[in-house]
Symmetry: C2
Subunit: 673 residues, 2 copies
């Protein structure tokens, strides 16, 4: 019997044949472990695996985990579910990378115990007890302190001369089970063949509300061009709306060659400001600020003030140049020249973007290009920036992003990267896998109930949720969807509520959004008329039709309801009206449940019956429950799964209910939790 | 421009950053390439992958494949489907192992051509043509023979002084496209990060009809115990039934200690023969034959005669011993002893199997045990056996099977292993993945329409079909399902047709099956009364109720209809009666389509309307089509998707239709193919 505990001689060509446990299909596992799953600090990593062995022996299994770079594993036990599936979990406590894997072993004591409890023949029981005695004895040798003595004593008693019934009871006792579980024989354990990575971000990676605005449009009074200074004065307004990330389009010097004019004109007037994405002029490039906005010093002041208000600046990273960018002189080898000697501007024939020159990532000098772009990120991190919204990452090589994000996050693991890739599914997913913290989504174009339901179900339930964190934007400076163009103020309210409650991260481009800016440049176009991309705008923040109040309320609801601060609990519920959508989010313990119902029709009152899964929501079908509308303050008492709703888009196109269960008797004053 | 074609300097810590193509999600891929997909000689391996790059450049991609061990890859082109999914395929021509992987590259010529076809500005076109000239020139350097000269000439013309329209036409010509496709610039290509294995078996691995019988029950006239000689006389009968594999339970000496008697009795009479699975006695062990069956020489004669009749012997491999097996003396270290010194017999408390002693695969001497068991397989291969039906593989370590099957198939790649693991899904799948050629299934217990539909859909459409080849058995010596116990002759007919037409491989345990042996040992048991496992039986093959005629006909239908010779085309079709099941199988070109309808109710006539997907079956909805019942010979003319059927289980519980499409006009005599 002792033999099985011995060391393993290496076979001549044979595998280590006595390790009998099998571990398969570990989840989460992204592309066979090539990429990391994502979590934020304090979250659980729930690890599942198929674990089994030959015959009918019993198994033990653990999840092994550690912060990357540490040598020692921490272990947490796994428990069997059904059908050979096991589950364990561990909590990630610090920002950075973790690793995890699974170990399992055939547990002779558990097998012995299982068999013993079923034995009928007293002769067999007597012999089995001797086996148990041996197992306890061996465990005693592995045990520490008092446990060792106790196990040795139990071993002696099992093999001793007490009556069979006593020894059987002892062998099957919970006490022995507990001791043996503490000191299993793992000499023949199996390790899963991969060590899997998880990237742990700070909480804002999962839960964030973004507000994009153009600093140059914040001029007050007689000024023409806004500055970091005037932008700083805008911050309390944005903080008041309840956002936590303030995202600025590029703040660098803007090229003059082929500069675009208002409404994308190719013949701009002398004093038109140009697109901020045409980066670089004689005043500098990606590490410089546009002189009209102010100085680096003033930018830092803006950043400090933002942090004081609970806001954080996100900078736009657009790795492209205007024809006037200093790089074109200092590093001409980073750009492609055409056979006629002219520089290759950006294009997607027949479209031309002559104010933009892309880097040639196939240049022989690609290594110095990569390092320079890395230094751009490092530069802004040095200025206090920890969030980057990356412009069109899908037009630069995937390998570059994986490398540069890896480099930056190794040194600054708190950095957050938002991928602005409005591209094909595989492309967006690859960017998320290789390291982008959050991703823009197709939400901007998903407006019907069917579209929203299927897309958000995909985002929140498919395996891709392990790495793809959605950030929902109803509008951007590039996209004014026709639903917003034609739906009036109710359409904006509807989309705001959807974005803010369907996903834990969302953003708006303001003040265009809250001021219901819905004029397109031409019919059929998603471009804004008089887009801020090409001209300065002045916004009347005090306009009576502003949605500021609603936005502030929705953001407060998000902060007060943890159910809205993560994505995976999202469930859609049936409503018998295609214009009404209903869904819920909840915390794991069901302590906080939010039920949202939105009228997708911005023109007409819509009504219908909502069907809630009472069981899943922890509700007693025999008891009424309260729905507290956190938007209007109204409270409704519902009974059973099926209840009637009606929503007038001109008053409020949505209910955002906190579900309050009956927790005491009706004699209590406040009897809903 | 030349730069991009240069060699790649290794970066200091940087990845090879200019390889821009991405390859993901290659299929087939079993457990990240840990296990092989399975094919038989002559089949295609259809390889799919997600392939894309940054930006809007065009790509080229190939499947690379080779017999394992060869250095050179063969390549076949991949074509894009939708959504960045690409597909290519290759045919496997010889038995053994193949490898495959995927390569992809950004194709500058294809990108150039795509852009050029969309350019509008003549100035841009003129410059682009110079780029095209360069690309052609570089391709000329890669090209061979006349192609090189032609490409060089085209290059010169593109940069020459012919009118722009002429040069544009040349640049976009199919001729240039064909040439450039032949000589792409692959200097910056990406290779998928895994090389994936495929095991190629002979055709019988995919398409086989098995007949199991006990040689000892073939005695004629005055003999008591059948012999290899009497079994040999049974072979023409089995060949006449149309089977191709004859599977024999163990043929080794049978232990005497704790021998089981008739009906599993623990107190057998002196002359009872015992279970063939209690292997080993003083006459020998796993490499010896039971003296009462005859000699090894006579076994070889049996095997030769089988091959002459188009049959092949499958031997039972049961790696376990009777207490009398010579191994217990020669290698006592391979068995576990209990603390009282007694040998550990097989058990699953409270059940005991005292006539069986399992090997202790955790023995220190496991390596010599593995090698000895390997030598058992080699011994029988030496006797002409190429098919093994492995008894209870799930009670021996997975690592052992992976090793031993790998060893044997490296030397004898024609060997087929059938896994008799009636166990949990993960366990059965692991055995299939690690190398078993075919697997027993849950079919034996799947009797209702819902059960059959969902289970066979899983077997034939899920990813597991890449490695799990089902073999359907309506009965075995261990399992007489209650459906057969109570359904009479129609139940046997029904299950025969289902097994033989749902899967390309099936088997029966005869003559019990064709003689409708349906007496269970006791109510609620699946064991046969007077089971051949424990006693000799005599069977009257000429009994009038024998299903021999039906079986012979069904096996002939299988041989004549290639649709029934593989599994992946299986599709179930709607019938508005839960007792009627309808499905079809077809060849890839739809040249052979078989539609099967079975009445699952063995007692009553059942009728209903069958709904066929005319489109999928290549049928013209406006034309009638003929269903030729290959069982009865009757022909039916059907119109449209919905048609009526009625089946009387006492006459024939099934239609096995060959679908014949109209291929000419009604003036032709035989106008259905």
């Amino acid at each position: 019997m002792n033999a099985a505990h011995g060391s393993l001689p290496a076979g001549d060509g044979l595998p280590d044949g006595r390790r009998r446990a099998v571990i398969e299909s570990v989840r989460p596992e992204v592309d066979c472990g090539r990429f990391a799953a994502k979590r934020v600090v304090g979250e659980w990593v729930v690890v599942e695996a198929d674990i089994f062995t030959d015959g009918h022996d019993r198994l033990g299994a653990v999840v092994r985990h550690r912060p990357a770079g540490e040598a020692a594993w921490t272990e947490t036990p796994m428990e069997p579910l059904v059908n050979d599936r096991w589950r364990g979990r561990f909590r990630v406590e610090t920002i950075g990378r973790y690793e995890y894997t699974v170990a399992a072993w055939v547990d002779r004591f558990l097998s012995f115990r299982h068999d013993l409890s079923r034995r009928e023949d007293p002769g067999d029981i007597a012999i089995a007890l001797l086996v148990g005695a041996e197992l306890a004895e061996h465990a005693a040798a592995r045990a520490r302190g008092d446990d060792a003595a106790e196990l040795a004593a139990i071993g002696r008693r099992l093999a001793g001369d007490e009556p069979l019934e006593c020894r059987l009871e002892l062998a099957l006792s919970e006490r022995l089970l507990a001791l043996m579980r503490q000191y299993p024989d793992r000499s023949l354990e199996t390790h899963y063949d991969k060590v899997l990575p998880v990237v742990v971000d700070r909480e804002r990676a999962r839960f964030s509300a973004w507000y994009e605005f153009f600093p140059r449009s914040t001029a007050e009074g007689g000024e023409r061009h806004g500055t970091f200074e005037s932008a700083r004065k805008r911050l309390p307004y944005i903080a008041g709306l309840g956002f936590d990330v303030v995202y600025l389009p590029p703040i660098h010097p803007i090229g003059r060659t082929k500069r675009k004019g208002a409404n994308n004109s190719l013949e701009p007037g002398e004093d038109e400001p140009g697109s901020p994405w045409a980066i670089g002029a004689e005043e500098g490039g990606h590490k410089d600020v546009h002189p009209e906005l102010g100085t680096l010093e003033e930018f830092r002041k803006l950043s400090v003030e933002a942090r004081r208000l609970g806001l954080e600046i996100a900078l736009d990273i657009a790795f492209q140049c205007s024809p006037d960018h200093p790089y074109l002189e200092s590093h001409p080898q980073w750009f492609r020249r055409r056979p006629d000697g002219s520089i290759q501007h950006a294009e997607n024939p027949p479209k031309k973007y002559e104010d933009i020159v892309p880097f040639d990532f196939e240049t022989d000098d690609w290594q110095s290009l990569w390092r320079e772009l890395e230094s751009v990120l490092e530069f802004w991190i040095g200025q206090g920036v920890a969030i980057f919204r990356v412009d069109n990452p899908h037009t630069k090589p995937f390998a570059f992003w994986e490398w540069v994000i890896g480099q930056v996050k190794r040194r600054h693991p708190e950095t957050i990267f938002l991928s602005e890739a409005f591209s094909r599914p595989r492309v967006m997913h690859r960017l998320a896998k290789l390291g982008f913290t959050q991703s823009y989504t197709y939400f901007t174009w998903r407006n019907t109930k069917h579209e929203l339901t299927s897309y958000l179900t995909e985002l929140t339930t498919h395996d891709s949720r392990e790495y793809f964190r959605p950030n929902l934007w109803p509008n951007t400076p590039d996209i004014l969807h026709e639903y917003l163009q034609h739906g009036g103020r109710p359409a904006f309210m509807c989309r705001l509520v959807l974005a803010a409650t369907l996903a834990a991260s969302y953003g708006i481009y303001g003040p265009a959004f809250e001021l219901v800016e819905n004029r397109a440049r031409e019919p059929g176009s998603e471009e804004y008329l008089d887009s801020e991309k090409y001209q300065l705008r002045r916004w009347n923040l005090d306009a009576p039709h502003s949605l500021a109040g609603l936005i502030a309320r929705v953001n407060r609801i998000r902060r007060e309801n943890p159910a809205l601060q993560s994505d995976w609990s999202l469930r859609f519920h049936s409503v018998d009206n295609e214009q009404l959508i209903c869904y819920s989010k909840s915390t794991e313990d069901l302590g906080n449940i939010v039920v949202v119902i939105v009228n997708l029709d911005p023109h007409h009152v819509q009504s219908g019956h909502v069907e809630l899964p009472l069981d899943e929501l922890g509700l007693d079908a025999a008891q009424p429950y309260q729905l507290h509308d956190l938007l209007s303050g109204a409270r409704y008492l519902w009974h059973g799964p099926r209840n009637y709703v009606a929503l007038d888009p001109h008053r409020s196109p949505a209910h955002v209910f906190r579900l309050r269960r009956r927790v005491a008797t009706e004699r209590d004053f406040d009897y809903y939790m």
